[in-house]
Symmetry: C2
Subunit: 427 residues, 2 copies
């Protein structure tokens, strides 16, 4: 196909007419499809139904050290689940605290605690005039929502193929003591699907922040969420890298089983240095007597060990892979060579990131919606919902059944074309 | 028995010798018993083992409105669990948000949110010079730990048979805008076991606080935790009373199933006015995508309805009642008439409150510990761990098996006698 920008006005008008007709056909279908959120499909959830059978009234709900998991107690999680999650995120069990069902909640609580009580003895952020966070963009809207909620100023950091622009990160973090953190989704990043290069991880681990309470907020959301068995991204383990760099306390690593077992009923964790964990536990013991140990036990009995979990993830991949490939195939077929958009081809995670021509994303999403397909709101991948170029759109292929996804993606591609043609026509 | 204070020095010395001998006998038994925390016993936990069978891989985990409980979503809890908890705490389902496994966590989050974001548009507490809380004493140590952790100044309010001293509460709350809350355990209070009278509840509901963001923190921990089927305390429903008094927003009501199903794996809730709930949800949606709906469904399928829950609580009562009665019998037998201590005889809840002679509690607890029986630390029932009269000790009869409990209580009574004799001897 010829790039759209090489078409003359007449050709563009002709094209517009043709595209409008196809759009009307879509509208007549009364679609109600959702490509907005990174939710597993029902088929994926079925994979974990065995979780409902591993604990029965005949079973002993005592964990290995003799603790009755049904009663109060064990602030930081039972040993065997720490080991399972430790293997999952490549961190020793001793560096882990197990939480409830949501890593987002752990991240929120981490920021909230820093606001009211500070980090490891430093001034509580609520007593400071200004607190700033670095936000690699495009990124995860719920991260940005937390920092915005706490009145933390967010600074956009462009994402490259290798992760955040490290020159910019180093420059800012070294010189500005009001910068207290950076949001990172290092592997199969939300939404680009890219992973941080070894060089990026090492440079992050070697940061010399002006603020002693600066931390890397490492959201290891998709650590074992590969789409392919043979081609997998690998990200250097950040706790170990920080330790090697003489910065053991520099990072909080967050994770959960949300997209491994059941999203609302999984287990979440934080991994960090001994000093950070002690600091956290000083707060945690005031907040709760302990999290759901029966559910911790349920996860251990179901997955048994990291090998069981890895095998389980292959089944997720078998369901997700055709969906990602379908989206990529349609985008290539419909938009390849037109130079009106580019998109990522991740090897894992939950998203494909699409960049339209400048100033077109909002209109594309609106046009999809008018024909019954909900996309993540344009701008959502940027702090304050403001994409300065209005071009990034997050595509979430996981939730709809394959046939719906194909229809939705075809409509999406059509909307990209229509909005791009209008843009080129100067309308 | 003759009151100890009527014994002369010689009689006291003789008594001391005899008691010391008995104490040495206890020491030789190498006891390791725990009467410190309000934990259900293993026998009680067994009552809920059916929870492990109500959801299996053959079951549909869809709730009544069609939501798949396995996936993300539903911020404030599934409808049927709101109805169950609503019936449990006598509040309409629409006034409820369902949380995770711990009401303590909900209380902590409520205070934390007030610190960073304020209550319904009022100034965040972290921006104020001084924030104070009223603390009816003796009270629950974990409540006091939260307010202490956030640097909130705690003011002791004496507990009467009818609840907190309301003259003092009204006087303080009406005149001091820095007072932002009062901790209440209205029914089978921790640790006295007393319940607030109707008059107390009405006076609380009719408070005219100087601070617009003053709230009653109503910890409905033992709402259906009766020991007897015929003699039950009844406490007026506080949300309804506040509404009647024209103060609909005055109260947060906390509850959980911790001592109904499994303590670490239950469900917690907050009940409040529409305005309060909207305020809370504005924060909650930033903190999490939702709590554990599978566990919510598990509770509904197990208990079915409030009648099922009430029947279940009778089984708990059958296990707890003999324990409470054993403690009371021993105390009466050993200490009755000696005028060296008084204790409560609650009709529900988890605790008996004991008051020794002034200045004796710490020593009694220490003496118990030296002979192998752990009591709740003396002072724990007061803010900052400071019992001004050093006389209150919380007895938790629930956890040890009956025979152990008898031994522990006998030792406790003996320690009370020894320390009292020493006190009277002026030593």
């Amino acid at each position: 196909m010829k790039p759209y920008r090489e078409l003359n006005r007449e050709e563009l008008l002709e094209l517009k007419k043709e595209l409008s007709e196809r759009y009307r056909e879509f509208q007549s279908k009364d679609l109600a499809l959702d490509m907005s959120r990174g939710k597993p499909s029902a088929e994926q959830l079925d994979l974990s139904m065995g979780m409902m059978d591993v604990l029965s009234s005949d079973d002993d709900l005592t964990c290995e050290d003799g603790t009755d998991c049904r009663n109060y107690g064990v602030l930081d999680g039972i040993r065997e689940v720490k080991e399972l999650i430790g293997d999952m995120i490549e961190v020793p069990a001793d560096n882990i605290i197990i939480y409830g069902n949501s890593s987002l909640n752990v991240m929120y609580d981490t920021i909230s605690r820093s606001m009211t009580h500070g980090v490891m003895g430093n001034t509580p952020w609520c007593k400071l005039d200004k607190v700033k966070f670095l936000c690699p963009v495009p990124g995860y809207d719920r991260h940005f929502a937390i920092t915005e909620y706490f009145g933390i100023e967010m600074i956009n950091i462009p994402m490259t193929q290798d992760g955040p622009d490290m020159n910019m990160v180093e420059e800012l973090v070294t010189n500005d003591a009001s910068i207290k953190g950076i949001w990172c989704v290092p592997k199969y990043s939300n939404p680009t699907g890219n992973s941080y290069s070894d060089q990026t991880v090492r440079r992050l681990a070697r940061l010399k922040p002006a603020a002693p309470d600066f931390r890397i907020y490492w959201d290891n959301a998709y650590g074992i969420h590969h789409l392919y068995d043979d081609e997998q991204d690998h990200v250097l383990e950040i706790l170990a890298e920080c330790k090697k760099a003489g910065n053991p306390d520099l990072v909080y690593k967050f994770s959960s089983t949300s997209k491994i077992s059941f999203p609302g009923s999984g287990i979440a964790a934080i991994a960090a240095s001994y000093n950070n964990l002690e600091d956290i536990k000083g707060q945690l013991k005031i907040q709760t007597i302990g999290h759901d140990k029966v559910n911790q036990l349920r996860h251990v009995r179901f997955f048994k060990d990291i090998h069981g979990m890895v095998e389980h993830m292959k089944k997720h991949a078998d369901i997700l892979r055709p969906k990602f490939e379908a989206v990529e195939d349609i985008l290539e077929r419909e938009l390849g060579g037109l130079e009106i958009g580019s998109w990522t081809k991740p090897r894992g995670g939950y998203f494909i990131s699409f960049d339209s021509m400048e100033g077109c994303a909002k209109e594309i999403v609106a046009k999809c919606k008018k024909a019954g397909v909900v996309m993540t709101g344009a701008g959502a991948t940027y702090p304050y919902g403001k994409d300065p170029h209005d071009c990034n759109i997050r595509i979430a292929p996981s939730y709809p059944p394959l046939q719906d996804l194909i229809t939705a993606t075809e409509l999406f591609a059509l909307c990209v074309k229509i909005v791009s043609v209008n843009k080129l026509l100067g309308k």
